[in-house]
């Protein structure tokens, strides 16, 4: 059996008397690129927020390798799961290096001193995200794509087993989207981390993921490899949009084409 980085068991969650999740169940296999997809309001971000323990405890349980999520110390949790938020902007003039160095917090002691190993890891993370040349620049001066890569570098510096990303590319142009998803794919292939990513672009999902979890109205409607989940019938039913699926030769993923009009 494949190892898992987390298992969700019977997760039930109501917000303002509205039942959002009813006995949700899934697991996240280790070493995979896992995409969570579904229409707006289907509960993708809420699911991520439960994994990050930002929301009050739901019923049911989220089991991580060292026990229940809610028994984890905050720093231990940070060493297991890191997070790249949807679209955060920094209002303070931290340098790129300082921002990535924050990722070392859960590994550090009481004093705000970075060890030589911390420094090496920060530089490696920056290099992995092709940002070493802007280490001394202010984070507020980065372009959208660079900023997003900096957040991923911070997650890398955190040395967590899992990186959670909430729509990391939805506000970027197609070049930056592909670049960031390729870098994330590389992290999975090099066994650096398991990636769990909320995505909207179904073609990107099909091109990069090992496992797709499709949600609708707080329930998981399908999970499995992209080709199995992303069928014409299911997409049309879940998204209420007609699509064509164009097969391509060889190992290339098919192209999913929504009917715009």
């Amino acid at each position: 059996m494949q190892k898992t980085v987390g298992t969700i068991r019977n997760l039930t969650w109501a917000y303002r008397n509205k039942l959002l999740f009813d006995k949700l169940h899934t697991e996240f296999p280790s070493g995979s690129f896992i995409s969570i997809i579904g229409p707006n309001g289907s509960g993708k971000t809420t699911l991520l927020r439960h994994l990050l323990r930002i929301l009050p405890s739901p019923r049911g349980s989220i089991v991580l390798p060292q026990g229940d999520l809610h028994d984890y110390h905050q720093k231990d949790l940070a060493r297991h799961i890191s997070y790249v938020p949807q679209q955060s902007r920094l209002e303070y003039d931290f340098t790129v290096y300082d921002c990535v160095a924050m990722g070392r917090y859960s590994h550090g002691g009481r004093l705000a001193v970075l060890s030589p190993e911390d420094h090496t890891l920060i530089m490696q993370s920056l290099q992995a995200m092709e940002l070493a040349h802007v280490a001394d620049r202010l984070a507020t001066e980065l372009s959208g794509g660079e900023y997003q890569r900096m957040l991923i570098a911070r997650a890398l510096a955190q040395q967590s087993h899992v990186i959670l990303l909430d729509e990391p590319v939805s506000h970027l142009d197609v070049h930056n989207q592909r670049e960031i998803l390729t870098l994330l794919r590389r992290l999975v292939d090099q066994k650096v981390a398991t990636v769990i990513c909320v995505l909207h672009d179904l073609n990107a999902v099909s091109a990069f993921s090992d496992l797709v979890i499709m949600m609708r109205a707080g329930a998981i409607v399908a999970e499995g490899p992209a080709q199995e989940v992303l069928t014409k019938e299911r997409i049309e039913e879940v998204y209420q949009v007609a699509v064509d699926i164009i097969e391509r030769e060889g190992p290339l993923p098919p192209i999913i084409l929504p009917h715009w009009r």
Partner: protein
């Protein structure tokens, strides 16, 4: 932000400036003591008052009046500057400071209320005043947290909450003054801020609580940096946001309230110092805190010396001096903030 390798030089320059200002503050005044005498008196120690260079009266002025006063100003400056820095990070709001948020008023209100009820003053011990001040300040901090919805609401909501609380608390204090005219002078003193009643025993209590409040914050500078991010990011990096914020709030409120208990409300130091220092150091709290400590001491000793000497024989409340310098900066910040949010 200044290049990293210049920081030690600027830091050293600020420390030298602080020493120079302290020496001139000790020397300046109607008693006509020269700087050489001042150095000799300080060097002679607190009990050795017989010398050829100075007389007993001069020794008394320096050791019993000016030194405790200047050291009190330093402690108050450090406390208010560091508290301002902490509140700015806690509420992720560059305009937060103990005065603006109403926390200083809360402390003064606590003292005024207890004085009105006859619980403090006279024969009661030294610790009553700081205790009621802390209760008043902590109560106000709590109200701000609840009314402004923690940090989730906009920065403006927080400021308006602080301003509303300031209105309410100062109205209540005016009411106490009106109802109890015998206490008028002493309540007045808390609302304007002064180091005129400083003494070694008060300084001891102030210094002890300042140490208790400020030293632990030195070990929380990484957390302060991370608290500037959104809450989800801070949590995912490993900071227990709720407990760290509560701890920081208690520490800074403790230090602030005791300062207010003995020196009254001195506005805008907590706003100005971290702001000016952030221009030099950048936002990292490890350096910002050290610079704010020196800067706070520097600004308060300077402001108090100005308050004490500018009118000749009579004395200005130091709160007026800091408000005259700080309020315009606050308006500039507010204008810039509005521009950015447009």
């Amino acid at each position: 932000m200044v290049k990293k390798h210049y920081l030690p030089v600027i830091g050293a320059a600020l420390v030298i400036l602080l020493v120079a200002i302290t020496l001139s503050a000790l020397t300046l005044g109607p008693a006509g003591i020269s700087i050489r005498q001042t150095v000799a008196i300080v060097g002679a120690g607190p009990s050795n008052d017989i010398s050829t260079t100075f007389n007993q009266a001069q020794h008394r002025i320096i050791w019993q009046l000016r030194l405790p006063r200047i050291l009190s100003a330093m402690v108050a400056g450090v406390v208010l500057a560091v508290s301002g820095m902490v509140y700015q990070a806690l509420f992720r709001n560059p305009m937060a400071d103990p005065y603006v948020l109403g926390i200083s008023s809360g402390a003064a209100f606590g003292v005024a209320f207890a004085a009105f009820l006859g619980l403090v003053g006279g024969a009661t011990g030294m610790w009553q005043v700081p205790t009621v001040a802390f209760l008043g300040a902590a109560g106000t901090a709590l109200v701000i947290m609840v009314l402004s919805g923690g940090v989730r609401r906009s920065p403006t909501t927080l400021l308006l909450t602080g301003i509303a609380l300031n209105f309410l608390l100062s109205a209540l204090m005016t009411l106490f003054m009106y109802l109890n005219r015998t206490q008028l002078q002493s309540i007045m003193q808390w609302t304007l801020g002064s180091f005129g009643t400083a003494s070694w025993s008060k300084l001891g209590i102030m210094g002890a609580t300042a140490t208790l409040g400020i030293v632990p914050i030195m070990f929380l500078t990484r957390e302060l940096d991370i608290l500037l991010l959104d809450e989800a990011s801070a949590l995912s990096i490993g900071v227990s946001v709720k407990s760290v914020r509560l701890l920081l709030l208690v520490l800074s409120t403790l230090a602030t309230s005791v300062t207010v208990a003995f020196c009254g409300i001195i506005g805008f130091v907590g706003l100005m110092v971290p702001h000016i220092m952030r221009l030099i150091t950048g936002p990292r709290h490890k350096t910002l805190m050290l610079f704010s400590i020196v800067g706070g001491a520097l600004m308060m000793v300077g402001a108090d010396t100005l308050a004490r000497t500018v009118l000749g024989a009579s004395e200005l409340p130091v709160g007026i001096v800091t408000a005259l310098a700080g309020a315009p900066l606050f308006i500039v910040l507010l204008a810039n903030h509005r521009k950015e949010n447009r």
